[in-house]
Amino acid sequence: MPDVRRTIDAIWRMSSPQLIATLARTVRDVGLAEELAQDAFVAALEQWPRDGIPDNPAAWLTTTAKNKAVDLIRREHTRDAKYTAVAADLATRPPDAPDAVVDDPIGDDLLSLVFVACHPVLPREARVALTLRMVGGLSTDEIARAFLVPSATLGQRISRAKRTLTEAQVPFEVPQPDELPARLGAVLEVVYLVFNEGYTATSGEDWVRRDLAEDAMRLGRVLAGLLPAEPEVHGLVSLMELQASRFATRQGPDGAPILLEDQDRRRWDRLLITRGLAALDRAAQLRRPLGPYCLQAAIAAQHARAATWEDTDWDAIRALYDGLAQVAPSPVVALNRAVAVLMTDGPQAALDELDAVGADPRLARHHLYGAVRGDVLLRLGRRDEAASTLEQAAAHAPSTRERRLLLERAAAAGERPA
């Protein structure tokens, strides 16, 4: 017999995004909509354990929240013409039929909610918190645990974000076509940030954080359903599914990271790979220039398609990195491109690449830059330089485990072959 409290939490997670979105369209204020939805949830927590869970819990929550909206507006005797109109509208509207909860057939309300939660007027961390709260249906406590911040801090972050949206009078709508690419970029960034927060969680006990990766994948799939004509949405979904397919093989039993080259590919999740490749196909069928998420997904797809490391099509991967370096240049992309050059053109060409991009101080101090450069020098037989480069990289390593690995490699590089 499932636990009532956990059942109510599950219902909240399933129905709150649409509930908040529908309310926000009516009251024209996302913060207020979220509070009304919360009030309905609290009422459910009081009544359902006593009276049983209604047949259509989403309709119950909607009706309760709308009644609370009418009460609130009447109680406050607001002179605000906007709210008076809203109250009149709510009061005169016929009650919802039991199944008419989702009066948002094309998902415009939900989509508007996504864009408001990721609005550029908000700082990035507030966008993440608000999106998980309102679109992902997570509780403040769940988000706080996952991001390792106190619950009170996160609660304040969310309240402040809602206040900012109200003060800035951010309209509840889907952006106009000319604004859409930039606004969509902000949404996809939030989803991918959430994914990486979970995906890169290194502590083996950290299930709460790992769940974030699944939450992000769900958000991505929801977005793909709402914006099926946007290739980058499918690209992001593909990228996440392909990366997640390697989840079980990225770490050894002792928690040490396992490089792509050494991963046991038989344990990659075939279902996620199939889904990731299908999402990439959907993006390609839209016949638009490939953006950064599609390009990264296409690179991940090359690895997913190769049965072994040796089967990897490095020419294709290098071409994709060339594209990525054009549309989204970054030090990390430059470094990865140099690895692809190593595989296609050998260590000397790779060293030339690395020296060219190493002028960027952000990269020169990055431990991965030193790790790759040390490896390339070793392949060229320049053992002493390799050893000192790896030692420097170790000094920049973010964790003791990575530092130790790099120092081991440095020591091995310094040894003369017997």
Binding site: P2, A248, R266, R267, L271
Partner: protein
């Protein structure tokens, strides 16, 4: 977490479960809901057991029994793979599934969580894991020979 949700019916009712147009339409709408919520990863329907067979190992003997399995109380007619946040969420989604008495007296959706390597926790020691990997290697090499 990932769950497998299996559609079960009684073997005696199997001929009634043959999908009608209306049932397909209802199921299609339900599946669309699951997809739009980002929950559904996969799903298939199965042919009636008349087209199936059972391989039975008993007392050291191996025998083959051809379908249909009319005596079976819990015959699987189809399945989904869902990604959900809890068993309770899977139950709530399952409750939304269309059902109709005309397809059989009892239909059951059985929800089972799918193992992931992390689920084994401390019991899945490096030694056991290595053993499993060796086994997988062996299985693959046998397939290679076949």
């Amino acid at each position: 977490m990932k769950v497998m949700v299996m559609i079960q019916g009684a073997g005696a009712d199997e001929d009634k479960i043959a999908p009608t147009e209306e049932m397909l339409r209802e199921m299609g709408a339900y599946n669309e809901q699951l997809v739009k919520a980002g929950v559904m990863l996969d799903g298939e329907g199965l042919h009636p057991s008349a087209k199936g067979a059972r391989v039975v190992f008993a007392g050291g003997d191996t025998s083959v029994v051809d379908g249909p399995f009319t005596e079976s109380k819990e015959l699987i007619a189809g399945y989904w793979i869902w990604q959900v946040s809890s068993l309770e969420e899977a139950v709530e989604w399952a409750k939304k599934c269309p059902s109709d008495p005309q397809y059989g007296a009892t239909q059951v959706l059985e929800i089972r969580q799918i193992f992931s390597p992390e689920d084994f926790g401390a019991e899945y020691t490096p030694e056991l894991r290595e053993k499993d990997e060796r086994l997988a290697e062996e299985i693959q090499s046998q397939h290679g020979q076949a």
